[in-house]
């Protein structure tokens, strides 16, 4: 059975490439390590080396073919003792895979992953000096990235800091071996230095979601000048209204959170300056009221969006939120369902948290942290009374929203919650 030559993945993010030219002709003897062909990716032209010995029996994808999918069959090598007749059968079998989507399982799966081996061999062929700046080398080392995977953008193709940082942000990490879809796949974190006498531990590799959370929230906390405003809001009227509304129909079951979403939406309508982002050149005022709602999932935090929340009634918000939350937990949100939004709500009330300050979800200007509604002693008309009170803390990016605007928004929000009938207007 001839050995199949498959289109290699020369970088973890490569999904397809161009077969620039074959350096061996049909009938040429091939040794492991010989350069078979030149493959072009969007980043660079790389040499594709053979990992097997034999005779190049058939070229199936000719020179200059564009857009060859990774793992597509591009040629066949005859092993010792095989003759050309073997090609016909193999070619037919391989044809199934022709033009197919890059599939990790290939007819040669019994062999130890030749694609990977080829990619690695090419990338780190001994004697090939990789030009990279000292800073690029260090950042790559710390991030566990093989420099050989990267294309340099500096003078004479030297790898510079920018190239490594871009690779990190696009999710390239050490195991270049990963499938062609590596960008989306969870990648292993660089092994942390093991302290000799430290406590025992196990390591959970970072998922790409966890990395994004880490990066964005670190960036937010470190670069966004946060300030915090807290208000206590009485919930009794809202709870009564909720019970009343929920008692009228089985078609919906409104949660306190649904009321909060609507109140935030109407509050932003009243104080549009709080529905904004900071950019280097301008304050971006959102014309739509799109509200991100933080949802905890097993993989991490995600913020599906209720779009045009100001134009939706409580039942509509409630229904949409339930659907989005299920999708979020199942990891089925589409990008447009969680990317964007002008304002975020994070509610930890169901866990009994009284009050907390959330980290801003960049590039948004504000995030509202909602605590639990609980019975508290309040003073009303010079006498102690019991009321159900919830504390809400607004975290604000001071570059976009000043204290007075934040306070004005919170006042509007508080009024809507405390007089919930006004929400129905």
């Amino acid at each position: 059975m001839p050995i199949q030559i498959l289109m290699p993945a020369l970088s973890p993010t490569m999904a397809e490439g161009n077969l620039a030219r074959w350096l061996k002709k049909e009938g040429d003897t091939v040794k492991a390590g010989d350069v078979l062909a030149e493959i072009e990716t969007d980043k660079a032209t790389m040499e594709f080396e053979a990992t097997d010995e034999g005779i190049l029996g058939k070229i199936l994808v000719p020179d200059g073919t564009q857009g060859v999918k990774v793992n597509q069959l591009i040629g066949l090598i005859l092993e010792e003792g095989e003759d050309a007749s073997a090609l016909t059968a193999a070619g037919a079998a391989g044809a199934v895979n022709l033009g197919g989507v890059a599939a990790p399982v290939t007819p040669v799966a019994t062999k130890p992953t030749p694609v990977t081996a080829a990619a690695t061999a090419t990338a780190t062929a001994p004697g090939t000096r990789i030009f990279a700046t000292p800073l690029a080398k260090r950042i790559a080392k710390d991030a566990g990235i093989e420099l050989a995977q990267l294309a340099g953008s500096g003078p004479h193709g030297r790898i510079v800091k920018h190239d490594v940082e871009q690779a990190i942000s696009s999710g390239v990490t050490k195991p270049a071996a990963a499938a062609p879809v590596a960008a989306a796949a969870p990648a292993k974190a660089a092994p942390a230095p093991v302290p000799e006498f430290g406590p025992a531990y196990t390591e959970v590799p970072l998922t790409s979601m966890r990395k994004v959370i880490a990066k964005r929230l670190t960036e937010a906390k470190q670069t966004v000048p946060h300030f915090y405003l807290t208000v206590d809001i009485e919930l009794d009227k809202l709870l009564a209204l909720r019970a009343d509304l929920n008692g009228r129909s089985d078609a919906y079951k409104l949660s306190v959170n649904d009321f909060i979403i609507r109140a935030v939406a109407l509050g932003l309508k009243k104080v549009p300056a709080a529905n904004a982002s900071f950019t280097e050149t301008a304050i971006r005022l959102y014309t739509d009221v799109d509200i991100s709602v933080a949802v905890a999932t097993p993989a991490g935090l995600i913020t599906p969006i209720i779009k045009h929340a100001d134009q939706k009634g409580l039942a509509a918000i409630s229904g949409e939120m339930k659907t989005l939350a299920v999708k979020a937990r199942d990891g089925k949100l589409k990008p447009e369902e969680f990317q964007g939004g002008g304002f975020t709500i994070s509610n930890l009330g169901m866990f009994g948290v009284r009050d907390f300050a959330a980290i801003i979800n960049p590039p948004q200007g504000c995030i509202l942290a909602v605590g639990a509604g609980e019975q508290r002693a309040v003073v009303k008309d010079n006498a102690l009374a019991i009321a159900t009170v919830m504390s809400c803390t607004l975290s604000v990016d001071h570059r976009v929203v000043d204290g007075a605007i934040g306070a004005e928004f919170l006042a509007a929000f508080k009024k809507l919650i405390e007089e919930p009938l006004t929400m129905l207007l």
Binding site: T133, L135, R138, G154, H156, V160, T223
Partner: protein, 466 residues
């Protein structure tokens, strides 16, 4: 009329324009430069170079006064202001003819006159209102530079209230001088006149002198200026100028208090505005914001084929930034591979006051503000053998590293010859070296540059000589 069709027309022949023109010629572009005043622009005629000539005179004069410290005797040290000025003008003239020669050698066509955009790909040149030439080119670079900013109510009058232009050719040595603004321009003139004996006051609106520099450097500079007899008022603004025949009473407001200071001359150095007028920008897609042309990272304006470089394209207002931008634009037009946008963090700044100040990259405060965990190194001149031998023990070299990656984020220097030292860190930054490479580098002994090594070592707790 001669040849009027070019590959590239450059309006303005300052350090942005003439460098762009020479690079364009090297790359085979048929290039024209239009200059309304003098080749070399402000930098060479009324800025960087002639001020350095003046400051050289005041530095030597200062050294003469301290001759005793070196075992030398100088009697009756004095100066002739008109000769100092004449030397400065001579230096400018020499360089201007140098630029003229370079442009000629590179076969760049120079038009003497005022240029205006006259439709897509068209430039009209006039001289004293009369048409000189109508030029066409696919690419046009605006490199018209900038001029001193004027505050309403405090307009310079060329006599009592000067800008850099009058201050460069003073007809008289003011006994009492007030400088408004303590940026590079203001502080250099303050240094010059103070060294020559003027009773000098500097008024700065920010809370420190040289406000763009690292706060520690600013503080050291202020202390040194005050030791030299300069009076410095910060967090202050000038609210009124009352002129009489040969003096000006300046009302300065600081910390809620108002004081009146009477001086012979006032120098205004409160920033610059771009030369965006009468360029025919109206009706084009070129956007002007706060007197500067808006450009992207490739220096492209909103109008296809029209670029802007240097001061007219915004801060930092430095000759070397203009030159580099010019080269970037030209190389892109010529299709040179591997052209990179200018990394604004890698533009050094130098101020030639006494002591000199030079810096590149982020200040310590800026680095922290950007969220870096930093390692900071400092090394004082007093710890350096060469500095002691020179009798220049005042000053410091400060380095700021990213603690995580060892990237040199910024370097800040004050002291003798630091404007010549900063390039070492510049090369290091451009090559993206880390602290390790700087530590491995062998610095020659005995030099001031050893302090650059020591400052890096100090950032990692390893300084040897302090």
């Amino acid at each position: 009329m001669s040849q009027t069709s070019f590959d590239l027309i450059i309006i303005g022949s300052g350090p942005g324009g003439y460098v762009a023109a020479i690079r364009a010629a090297q790359l085979g572009l048929k290039t024209a430069v239009v200059e309304r005043e003098h080749l070399g622009g402000i930098c060479l005629n009324w800025g960087c170079i002639p001020t350095k000539a003046l400051l050289r005179s005041s530095d030597i004069y200062r050294n003469m006064q301290h001759a005793g410290a070196y075992g030398l005797a100088v009697q009756g040290a004095s100066f002739d202001l008109s000769k100092i000025v004449a030397r400065s003008r001579g230096v400018a003239a020499q360089l201007q003819s140098g630029v003229k020669h370079l442009l000629k050698k590179n076969k760049v066509t120079v038009f003497d006159g005022h240029a205006m955009l006259a439709g897509p790909g068209k430039v009209a040149v006039t001289k004293d209102g009369k048409p000189v030439a109508d030029l066409t080119a696919k690419n046009i670079i605006l490199a018209t530079g900038a001029r001193a900013r004027v505050i309403p109510g405090m307009e310079p009058d060329s006599k009592l209230v000067w800008t850099y232009k009058e201050a460069l050719v003073p007809d008289t040595m003011p006994k009492r001088l007030l400088v408004v603004g303590s940026g590079a321009i203001g502080i250099e003139f303050a240094s010059f006149f103070n060294a020559l004996g003027a009773e000098t006051t500097v008024v700065e609106v920010m809370d420190r002198v040289l406000p763009v520099e690292d706060a520690e450097i600013s503080a050291m500079a202020r202390k040194s200026f005050e030791k030299q007899g300069m009076k410095i008022i910060t967090s202050a603004s000038v609210t009124k100028l009352d002129k009489s025949a040969n003096e000006v009473t300046v009302t300065v407001e600081a910390g809620g208090k108002t004081q009146a200071i009477t001086v012979d001359r006032v120098i205004l150095a409160v920033g610059i505005v771009g030369n965006v007028e009468n360029l025919g920008l109206e009706g084009t897609k070129v956007v002007v914001e706060k007197t500067h042309v808006v450009v992207n990272q490739w220096l492209e304006t909103g109008e296809p084929g029209v670029y802007a470089i240097g001061d007219i394209a915004g801060a930092p207002w430095l000759a070397h930034k203009a030159s580099h931008e010019g080269v970037i634009v030209v190389e892109r037009i010529a299709g040179v591979a591997d052209v990179h946008p200018l990394n604004t963090r890698n533009i050094p700044g130098c101020t030639y006051c006494h002591p000199q100040v030079a810096s590149v990259g982020l200040t310590e405060a800026k680095a922290k503000e950007k969220g870096y965990a930093v390692k900071v190194g400092r090394f004082p001149f007093i710890g350096n053998g060469k500095a002691i031998a020179l009798g220049e023990t005042e000053g410091m070299i400060k380095t700021v590293f990213d603690a995580k990656t060892g990237e040199l984020l910024g370097a800040h220097m004050i002291g003798a010859e630091v404007t010549e030292l900063i390039q070492g860190y510049m090369v290091a930054k451009t090559l993206e070296t880390t602290e390790a490479d700087l530590m491995h580098a062998v610095f020659p002994h005995p030099t001031l540059s050893e302090m650059m090594h020591e400052s890096v070592l100090d950032a990692y707790g390893r300084a040897i000589h302090f």
